[in-house]
């Protein structure tokens, strides 16, 4: 009995060693490579929120001198928060210098993880809470002022619309989409108070087909200028192309999908924020800063589609709106 028991113990120990032996050894090479990891809720090819950040990182990487200077690891489609939390913790324990939690839903988890890794810097968006009030000093926060670009694009749409009917279509009436859609609406109505703005939601971030039907419905109701938010708008853009309506994009430059239909996009340019965070970390500041993407700091950019001529007075009005937002005269 006793020997049998010990034999089993030996077997278990051996099995455990085998399993542990399989694990890739964590190689903590103190090198000059700056290691960034990002965890995001949708895919790096979503033409929207996640892609804007991923491409931003790629751009900074290229500027810093490629993979020898900066290493990027990513986990996409982490829409389950516990999985995302595990990923964040994992990257931190593997010695990444900066771990980006690119989803507002990750906040509660990050607040629990960050104190365990004081040598790692974290970033959380979209939010403006760095948890400093809770005594945490290694979290950066960032948020896009989506309503600013929404307002400016609304001005452009109002001036270019012939029917004075404008359609907006979003996923769920909350968060970044809500900010953008409300800003756009304000921009339209400030320019043409008699214009009619209709808003639809599809209840899903990924229902491409219903988003397409929403665009169809807006156009049938007379809209000639449309906009919308989330990765599913790609469906709506195609409908605009087919029906001869025009589209305004947000989060990422959506011109490539329909060069004949997309007038302009609000593009999130995270590079400035990324560079500042990297510089801070290198200087020993691990967090505590809250960033916003605005026109003023160059984080928001209106990318016009070169294939569609936007009248000079419209562009001038858009620039005036940007200037007014920058000096506080307009608060979208």
């Amino acid at each position: 009995m006793n020997s049998k028991f010990s034999r089993i113990v030996v077997l278990i120990v051996l099995a455990a060693m085998l399993v542990a032996g399989c694990a890739p050894q964590a190689t903590e090479v103190p090198s000059t490579v700056f290691k960034v990891a990002i965890v995001m809720p949708s895919s790096i090819t979503d033409m929207a929120f996640s892609q804007s950040m991923y491409e931003g990182l790629k751009k900074v990487q290229a500027e810093m001198g490629g993979e020898s200077a900066m290493e990027i690891a990513y986990s996409e489609n982490m829409f389950k928060v516990p999985d995302a939390a595990a990923a964040i913790r994992d990257y931190a324990s593997k010695g990444y210098n900066l771990v980006i939690a690119h989803g507002s839903q990750y906040g509660t988890s990050l607040q629990q993880i960050a104190p365990d890794f004081p040598k790692t810097a974290f970033a959380w968006g979209t939010s403006l809470d760095t948890f400093q009030a809770e005594g945490i000093n290694n979290v950066f926060a960032y948020q896009a002022e989506a309503q600013e670009g929404g307002y400016v694009l609304g001005v452009v749409a109002a001036m270019m619309s012939k029917s004075n009917i404008i359609g907006e279509t979003g996923p769920v009436d909350a968060g970044d989409a809500k900010l953008y859609i409300e800003g756009f609406q304000k921009g339209v109505l400030a320019t043409k108070p008699d214009a009619q703005v209709s808003v639809t939601y599809t209840g899903s971030f990924s229902d491409v087909s219903l988003m397409a039907t929403a665009a169809e419905t807006h156009i049938a109701a007379g809209a000639d200028m449309l906009t919308g938010s989330s990765q599913s708008v790609v469906g709506a853009i195609g409908i605009c192309k087919d029906k001869g309506a025009f589209w305004f994009g947000t989060q990422w430059d959506q011109t490539s999908l329909a060069p004949e239909a997309v007038i302009a996009s609000q593009v999130y340019d995270w590079t400035g924020i990324i560079k500042d965070m990297i510089a801070s970390v290198k200087a020993g500041v691990m967090g505590g800063k809250g960033y916003t993407l605005t026109f003023k700091n160059g984080g928001l950019v209106i990318a016009y589609n070169p294939a569609i001529t936007v009248p000079a007075e419209v562009k001038a009005a858009a620039d005036a709106a940007i200037a007014a937002i920058n000096d506080g005269a307009i608060a979208p």
Binding site: V19, A20, C22, A23, P24, A73, Y74, S75, E76, N77, M78, F79, K80, V81, P82, D83, A85, A86, A87, R89, D90, Y91, S93, S104, Q105, T108, D116, T126, S127, L128, D129, Q143, V172, D173, A174, G175, K178, L179, G203, S204
Partner: protein, 353 residues
């Protein structure tokens, strides 16, 4: 004893198909330019190799087991419950609403009340298809699919409106999530610095309860009789529609509890995508356990480990996360596909004597 061993062996036999799935996965990994040995090493170590991995696996296994128990009851009763997703969502919503609404109540009262709310909400969400089936003959696959979609929209509405965290409105970020649950209803952490919570124990205890319920009570016996042979059960005087509705309601109750435990133990607030996938993965976990409540315990841990390990693998070798779904799909297909072998073996054994 030998009979039991034989049975265990036959239950485990289909798992031998897992390596086949992984072999195909290895080819895909090679095609993606990753080293399969490194990838699978990271997978196993990630799921079971250390405390952090093991606790993550158990955290994942908890909702899988709870949903799986409901699936066991439903399948034993001859109905297919694919409404787990929606039932988890309403269970979580109800628990959150009670916790946030009565946050000053003592935890001793509030905590069980939250769980009860989750159970009742889930039972109601499973009850609608159950009663529609019993009374009007509406197929449960149709109604549970629809009820899933309805639950998502209900959750969207509540989380951006009545139940939104007041702080989100204050800050102007307007993220669709509820306020933080009061600490009094947070489930105790079993291992510090990890997410493992006492819900795991509840799930295991309930697995035993379900086993006793299905095999040692009259109601359980009748549910199984209905599932085994509806016509025979009917001739034996069993009210078939009633027991089918009951198995759907119980299935919903367990999924609802899974939702409540997920918010109370892991997330501490209700948010979007809370259920994502557990409703379906729970079905798979239950099947890996041969639709037996006790078999579901190791099966949930194994499947939970597979999910956790696959995520780790994605990070270790940086392959697209879509590979994980592909691999899981293969595992499921091959495991269900090879069950016939053990079934035939059991059949032969029994006919031989």
């Amino acid at each position: 004893m030998k009979r039991v061993l034989n049975k265990v062996f036959e239950a485990l036999l289909p798992l031998l198909a897992v390596p086949v799935a992984f072999l195909i996965g290895a080819m895909m990994l090679l095609a993606l330019g990753a080293n399969p040995l490194e990838a699978y090493g990271a997978m196993i170590a990630g799921a079971f190799g250390d405390v952090s991995g093991l606790t993550q696996t158990l955290v994942k296994a908890t909702p899988l087991l709870l949903v799986g128990l409901g699936v066991c009851i439903a399948f034993r009763g001859g109905v297919i419950n694919i409404g787990g997703e929606g039932q988890i969502i309403v269970g979580a919503l109800a628990a959150t609403a009670v916790a946030v609404g009565f946050k000053e109540w003592p935890g001793l009262v509030l905590l069980p009340l939250c769980m009860l709310a989750g159970v009742l909400a889930g039972a109601m969400w499973g009850g609608v298809p159950g009663i529609l089936k019993a009374r009007l003959g509406v197929n449960e696959i149709l109604s549970t699919v629809m009820m899933n979609a309805i639950a998502v929209q209900l959750s969207n509405y509540l989380l951006r409106g009545p139940m939104i965290d007041p702080k989100e409105i204050e800050a102007g970020t307007r993220i669709a999530q509820s306020a933080l649950l009061p600490r009094s209803v947070w489930l105790a952490r079993l291992v510090p610095q990890t997410l493992l919570h006492s819900g795991a124990i509840i799930a295991v205890v309930l697995a035993v309860v379900v086993f006793i319920f299905l095999w040692r009570t009259t109601i359980g016996y009748r549910i199984r009789a209905v599932g085994l042979n509806r016509d025979a059960a009917k001739y034996a005087g069993i009210n078939v529609p009633f027991y089918q509705a009951l198995s759907l309601i119980l299935g919903g109750a367990f999924a609802g509890l899974a939702g409540a435990i997920e918010v109370m133990g892991v997330q501490h607030r209700m948010m979007e995508n809370l259920a994502s996938g557990y409703g379906f993965s729970g079905i798979v976990a239950a099947l890996f356990g041969s639709l037996h409540p006790l078999g579901s315990i190791p099966a949930s841990v194994l499947f939970g480990g597979l999910l956790v390990g696959a995520d780790k693998m994605q990070r270790a070798v940086q392959v697209p996360s879509a590979l994980i779904d592909t691999l899981l799909g293969l595992v499921v297909l091959l495991v269900v596909g090879s069950q016939v072998i053990s079934r035939r073996r059991a059949h032969r054994r029994e006919t031989r004597g």
